[in-house]
Amino acid sequence: MKLRTLTLGLLSASALAFAAHAESITIATVNNGDMVRMQKLTDDFTKANPDIQLNWVTLEENVLRERVTTDIATKGGQYDVMTIGTYEVPIWAKQSWLLPLDKLGDDYDVKDIIPAIAGGLSVDGKLYAAPFYGESSFVMYRKDLMEKAGLKMPDAPTWDFIKQAADKMTDRANGVNGVCLRGKAGWGENMAFLTAMSNSFGARWFDENWKPQFDQPEWKNTLQFYVDLMKADGPEGASSNGFNENLALFQQGKCGMWIDATVAASFVSDPKASKVADKVGYALAPDTGLGKRGNWLWAWSLAVPAGTKKADAAEKFVSWATSKHYAELVASKEGWANVPPGTRSSLYANPEYQKAAPFAKMTLDSINAADPTHPTVKPVPYVGVQFVAIPEFQGLGTTVGQLFSAALAGQSSVDDALKQAQDAATAAMTEGGYIK
């Protein structure tokens, strides 16, 4: 009996393989809501391109990054389309690991892509990845709690105001934490937030000679402020909270404020998932008056690896998934609020979108407020707002993230964490040949 089932299974599996006489491309993507939605809408693409079949590999962010990086670095050739971020694109493009996207089609309208995003995805003026959705970060807050605290959120708050508001909103007896921030270690988790935050405190990762700057007072101010704020007004177990955990907390009404990705806005304002959908307000990420705000810039983008044998089909797909047509498709099926945000200026000019997405303007302003080429108050030798676009950053960022996460958890002091971060960064830069 078992054998028969198995044989049947094998047969049907091989039948599947035979059915794939058409060209099939493999797309690696992250398991975020927007990408999952894209998967559901692929009929639209396959109908228009019956000779192309799509294979999806959906993985969580860390595993995905690990898989595609291994694959592209060893030229494994497993994927025809990869979902990567603004961090990878410039590095990989420089290695000639990506194909420039120059056949996106006549009606694609490359100029429509928001300049800050396009800039982050281009090297030497050539676009190497098409943005699927883009994001910055901003403050999401509970209007009702803010009112109860007797405060009014300005459009562009300072960190001091955030602290003051958080103190007043915190009501742990009722499960309300003044502020929820990322604490989970990882260069894309707490370090994305902390690096962006440090920019507004005037800190930087490296000086012009690639010397790490964690021994400078700006970093001390940043980290101390963060740890104190979270200790006083943050949720339980904050050192394991990443984007997802904080989103859940905020949706449950357990956060007064949450500073995180602008894409979160569509989740917190979705009445199906959020208890506080009608009470959310938005503001730009805070600053300290030094000229930089603590917001980042990120775009999940689709790129075609140089090793693919199906470049044309792959690029066709990339073009479809990041087109205006796709935005309209999502709008018609799921409503304008669910259109992947942050990539095209035209979307923000669309009155229907503005109506459906009250956070539209603030999102666009936040994106425009980030400048990957001049991210910090003082000059730096690198690009990237919440990251440093060098290959070593993934490892270093995560190591530093671990240290800062330990400081947040109270396992080590702020000074120790910074000292160890300085050592780790110096070691990494020396090893990488940046410091001679």
């Binding site: 690990e66 060893t74 894409v263 989740f267």
Partner: protein
């Protein structure tokens, strides 16, 4: 039991055993319960009675078709186990019935090959798989899982075979059986309980192998470990969906384990234990 047991004693023992067993089982039970909750319910706090909605399952199925992953899990775990048995039975036969001074050392060496951390050899293996065109192929992964579990299979079979009196094999030899016939008609049927439990244990181990199966597959050969990896931290509230995906990932092996529990337990004694 030679003596009558007092009902009181039995009642107390029963109660204690059930409480402990339920505590141990609780995380699994709660996962199954949660999978039948809506996301809102799932996050509401402790509740043992779900509303019974299957929306999470529908969503999981819609996002990543379950069957293909399931099928790959079955093929990989069963395939690698059968392959391992084919190679291990002769080896275990040799060790058990024609042992030398070095047999023990060879066994221990075999087991020690399992101590190499997989991550340390990922790159070499990845490069070999790439050059051999084995990435995302069921065959490559089957061989891989076979190699990973081979030491355990050899060892378990060895301990079972050692329990079988050598005279019976000699009798078969006297009866004119070739080596092949000896293994097929005499040794294997006599070792059925041991082979069955070896098989079960290794199917479980292969089913649950989550390093190589994720890293060496993309779509065609991806088993349930890859399936669960696409649900492990998505955006938003995800407890119910995660529970549904988890339940789907472990259910087949759990059910198989329950049904074959007796065989498995009998086999887990490794012969040597008695």
């Amino acid at each position: 039991m030679a003596r009558a047991v007092t009902t009181q004693h039995k009642t107390i023992a029963t109660a204690a055993a059930w409480i402990v067993a339920l505590l141990i089982f609780f995380p699994i039970l709660y996962t199954i319960i949660t999978s039948f909750k809506s996301e809102q319910e799932a996050i509401q706090g402790f509740a043992l009675i779900p509303s019974g909605t299957t929306e999470s399952y529908a969503e999981v199925q819609a996002q990543s078709g379950y069957f293909k992953f399931f099928l790959n899990s079955v093929i990989l775990s069963v395939g690698s186990t059968v392959l391992a048995l084919l190679i291990a039975v002769p080896a275990a036969w040799s060790m058990a019935f024609s042992p030398t001074k070095r047999t023990k050392d060879i066994l221990m060496w075999m087991l020690s090959t399992k101590m190499m951390p997989a991550v340390a050899v990922l790159f070499p293996i990845y490069l070999i798989f790439r050059d051999g065109g084995l990435l995302d192929s069921r065959i490559g992964l089957t061989v891989m899982l076979m190699l990973i579990n081979l030491p355990i299979v050899v060892w378990m079979l060895y301990t079972y075979f050692r329990e079988i009196p050598g005279e019976i094999l000699e009798a078969a030899r006297m009866d004119g059986a070739s080596l092949w016939n000896e293994i097929i008609y005499v040794l294997t049927p006599m070792a059925v309980p041991g082979i069955a439990s070896t098989m079960l244990l290794n199917i479980i181990l292969a089913w649950n192998e989550a390093f190589w199966t994720i890293r060496l597959t993309t779509t065609d050969a991806a088993p349930l470990t890859a399936f669960i990896s696409s649900f492990s931290s998505p955006q938003g509230l995800f407890w119910a969906k995660l529970s549904a995906a988890s339940t789907l990932a472990i259910a087949p092996i759990l059910i198989m384990g329950w049904f074959s529990q007796k065989q498995l337990v009998r086999g887990l004694t490794f012969g040597a234990v008695k």
